[in-house]
């Protein structure tokens, strides 16, 4: 076991997470403060259901090129996201607590290809990426709890095998 590596990882945040959804807020937030992310999540979940993005059928349509709906959703989300990021950078808009917004350049890794393909295959079967999984469960599709638990197991297994895989 590489004890050195373990130590570094416990102290500093592993570089790998830079790829995903890091918290760059310097100030610590209370549970009450964290509730605002719950509220944003609620809004997001409502949009997911009302635009039928959580539907297995919509994902089937997308990958059969039978409907523009999902392409329109993802495409317009990206355009709005791009404009927002551009404006935040250009005018150096600060966060509510006055911090500079942090962006993370992503490094190319082979995992983006292998993992991306594997996730795509799973997406085609389950009809859900991780966000919709939670919204499907909330919508009453109880069986999806099994999918979520299995996704957690998949994430755990990746963590276990990480150093043996081409990253």
């Amino acid at each position: 076991m590489a004890t050195n590596q373990t130590n570094t990882n416990t102290v500093s945040f592993p570089e790998h997470l830079v790829c995903d959804a890091p918290n760059d807020m310097v100030k610590r937030e209370s549970t009450l403060g964290n509730l605002k992310y719950l509220v944003v999540g609620v809004m997001f979940g409502i949009v997911f259901v009302k635009a039928e993005i959580i539907s297995w059928f919509r994902i089937q349509e997308m990958f059969r090129l039978h409907s523009f709906h999902m392409y329109g959703v993802i495409g317009s989300a990206v355009v709005v996201g791009m404009i927002s990021v551009f404006l935040i950078k250009k005018f150096n808009i600060k966060t509510l607590s006055g911090e500079t917004v942090q962006f993370h350049p992503k490094k190319f890794m082979r995992g983006q290809i292998y993992g991306g393909l594997l996730f795509g295959l799973g997406w085609g079967i389950t009809g859900a990426c991780p966000g919709p999984l939670f919204a499907q469960i909330g919508s009453g599709y109880i069986a999806v709890i099994v999918t979520l638990l299995s996704a957690i197991a998949g994430t755990w297994t990746y963590g276990l095998l990480k150093d043996k895989l081409p990253n």
Binding site: A21, L38, G81, E99, G124, A143, G154, Y158
Partner: protein, 190 residues
Amino acid sequence: MEFIELIKKPWPWYVAGPLIGLTVPTLLLIGNKSFGISSSLRHICAACFPANISFFKYDWKKEIWNLFFVAGVLIGGFLATQFLENPEDFVISEKTVAALRELGIQDFKGLMPADLFAVENILSLKGFIFFVVGGFMVGFGTRWAGGCTSGHAIMGLSNLQLPSLIATCCFMIGGFVMVQVLLPVIFKLF
């Protein structure tokens, strides 16, 4: 009243997409958070079963906002289904209906076909493939790729990251291969 009637209808892409896109600046500006959902699965591992694996040894409590967020998504799903349910029939492309009928799907009433997502299927071969295998690929794949549709396709592309474009293309290729090539074979098993 009219407003409620209106939002009960399915939301078109040009309403839903921009709202999802706005999640990016919302999270950045209220708390310096980069949008991403699959990381919640990693935090759950780190919080519940770190098992001395270095990948799960980090201060997950610092990232707890992400778990609040996905709990919100679950609650949002509940609220939308309970209170804003579309009173009319769910409409999907005729071509997709025809293609899926050929594969043996019979239930087209709701957002998810009962043929696959009924609780009784959990312990069957169908359940094993659609829930266990599918879910495992989603969890393993997103972590290997370092993000999912939200972290790469939306946040990463918004920030003009080439690796995210590569990842997004791979997500799509995987999905096409599954639906067009593998699903017809899988459905022959049942």
